[in-house]
Symmetry: C2
Subunit: 363 residues, 2 copies
């Protein structure tokens, strides 16, 4: 209708006026508003800021035809309702982590983080070149949602403890905040595991309601100030060795996008796999330096005996979870086969190199 | 001019004909042809195929307005003239690795691979969140070229040897193919270092012209069949612990692109950092399995004494190279400071986790 009007105008009013008018209706007709809900507070470091960057990039690349607006947790729906919001079409997209949806299927754990599972690089390999993303897509299809692998945090630290941990015995009765499968592992070892959202952890630690907590790594942990109330910072983390996020798109919305716009979203999310993980890698290095040299944090390494205890319990937990239903079993077995090959290569590659480098490095 | 014609037509011929005509000139006017030269053979695994994927994605995301055409090495210009081709505007873009341009400035080495330098993840961190890409952009500016970080191969293997290497003495007089700064390190240790393009290595190894060679890693090495003529496959590689590629764009061409098209190229290249590296990670794991279990390759680990010798010689080589001119010195010092922090974090993160995992893993 607007074009009709324009054409009449053009005929009557001449070239210059027409040229100014022609663009407007074509653009406004093609514009799609996409609401992207997240599971993060507004501008939360790396995760919330990454969601904003992703939205901006999609909008820019589409010449403004895809207008993505980010909603922090709670703004449109509560954090843990974001999957359902996309599934039901209340939001077109979400920016989250799949292990939050393990209540819908235990298989969701394998696309996010598995105790003693993949590193970030290995996970990216399995997802993009192995069967990972195919299986994830198959799982999400029944919910009317199309999944994309977003970015990893890298290896998460073993957490903050108010007292030194010298043996597995010390976990008995320990009140510790750790979500997901890692939490199941500690529960198996006798800990009282609690899950608290980010904002509630510091007060709980300060009040002594919990004896310790894990969060992410030096960069995010420094921001929360855990070093003020728990002195011992343990490594290596076994429970979330990559923790890779997702972007979900409503299936009908996806099907209604042009090939061009689908590719813009697919590629923009993939670029986040680089950007966001690189931010964690770089800023963890800087933040660690600050924690150790400015705040006097005491670094402690879990003993080999403790790491073996975590390992054995982890294998039990993931076997239990992995065998709960036929689809999850298929994912679990695919994951474990890929993991064995990935470990074989990492040993010679990244790990072999880093060990040779560290043996000779002088700070 | 075409719009004038259309408007006349619209006035005369009515709405339907006009609507059909309006799109055609707008699109054909906006189409840009971008020639992307590469330093790889046509469809070379991961590198050549990655160039094709990148071109396709840019074309798709721009709705066909950026038509990127890939030229294999030698098709438009020889491989090692691709930088100059972009600089002089014979090609609009290139897909390559910056250490090939070390003849223009030694600083180019630091944006590609440094013996005992960064891993891929650490390199991505320095480039995208530290000063890496800023310095690289500053360096390229004088050549009229805008650089983007592309993708890493991950840690490269230590290479194929016809005889076992038991000490640094064994490198004296050894005829070995290794390019770049790694080659300088072996030269310092007494080897006769040669550089051969990919296609010439196998015949040279077969004829005994060289005693050994490095190439990339299991995935690429398997394709070349080195295992047929050199039995011993050494790890870890110290010489190219990440080897990260680039995409270059002619500066005037870049400045002439819309914000939308600039973002499409920037984001598409960044997505390659994920895609291509993930391909190496995943396929190296599978290929290693084939090499060891099907082709009877003998894996050998360099001794700690050899790794220390490589390390000391590497630090000497990069200090020599890093101090050759003021700009390179600035890059070298920035790189080394970021490296120290990166090593601090990797020790606790990826490396700490992988060591704990491997200590307990049973194949």
């Amino acid at each position: 209708m607007k074009r009709r009007k324009f054409l009449k105008g053009a005929a009557a009013g001449g070239v210059a006026a027409a040229a100014a008018t022609v663009a407007a209706p074509a653009i406004s007709q093609g514009v799609k508003q996409l609401k992207m809900v997240t599971t993060w507070p507004k501008n939360f470091p790396a995760l919330g800021t990454g969601a904003e960057r992703l939205a901006q990039r999609i909008t820019t690349m589409s010449g403004g035809k895809l207008q993505v607006k980010v909603y922090a947790a709670g703004e449109l729906v509560p954090a843990f309702q974001s999957f359902d919001a996309v599934s039901q079409g209340k939001a077109e997209m979400s920016h989250s982590v799949s292990y939050y949806w393990q209540g819908k299927s235990p298989a969701f754990n394998f696309f996010a983080a598995v105790p003693y599972g993949f590193t970030a690089d290995e996970h990216y390999g399995w997802m993009l070149w192995g069967d990972g993303l195919k299986l994830y897509t198959e799982l999400c299809d029944q919910f009317g949602v199309v999944p994309f692998m977003r970015a990893s945090t890298g290896v998460q630290m073993g957490g903050w403890y108010r007292k030194e941990m010298t043996s597995l015995e010390d976990f008995k009765g320990l009140k510790f905040r750790m979500p997901g499968l890692g939490g199941e592992v500690l529960r198996k070892l006798g800990a009282t595991v609690v899950n608290l959202p980010g904002g509630e952890i510091f007060p709980a630690l300060q009040a002594g309601t919990i004896d310790g907590t894990e969060w992410v790594g030096p960069f995010n942990d420094l921001a929360f100030g855990f070093y003020k109330v728990a002195k011992f910072y343990y490594w290596p983390g076994f429970h979330e060795p990559n923790t890779t996020g997702e972007v979900l798109v409503n299936k009908k919305v996806w099907a209604g996008l042009s090939k061009e716009h689908q590719e813009i979203i697919r590629v923009a999310v993939q670029a986040e796999s680089t950007m966001e993980f690189a931010e964690f890698t770089y800023k963890n290095g800087n933040a660690l330096d600050v924690l150790l040299n400015k705040h006097g944090v005491q670094l402690r390494q879990f003993s080999p005996e403790m790491l073996k205890g975590f390992y054995d319990a982890s294998m039990e937990v993931i076997a239990e979870v992995g065998n709960r239903d036929p689809f999850t079993k298929k994912v679990y077995e695919n994951f474990m086969a890929a993991r064995a090959k990935a470990i074989g290569w990492s040993k010679l590659g990244e790990q072999g190199f880093m060990n040779a480098r560290l043996a000779n490095f002088k700070a």
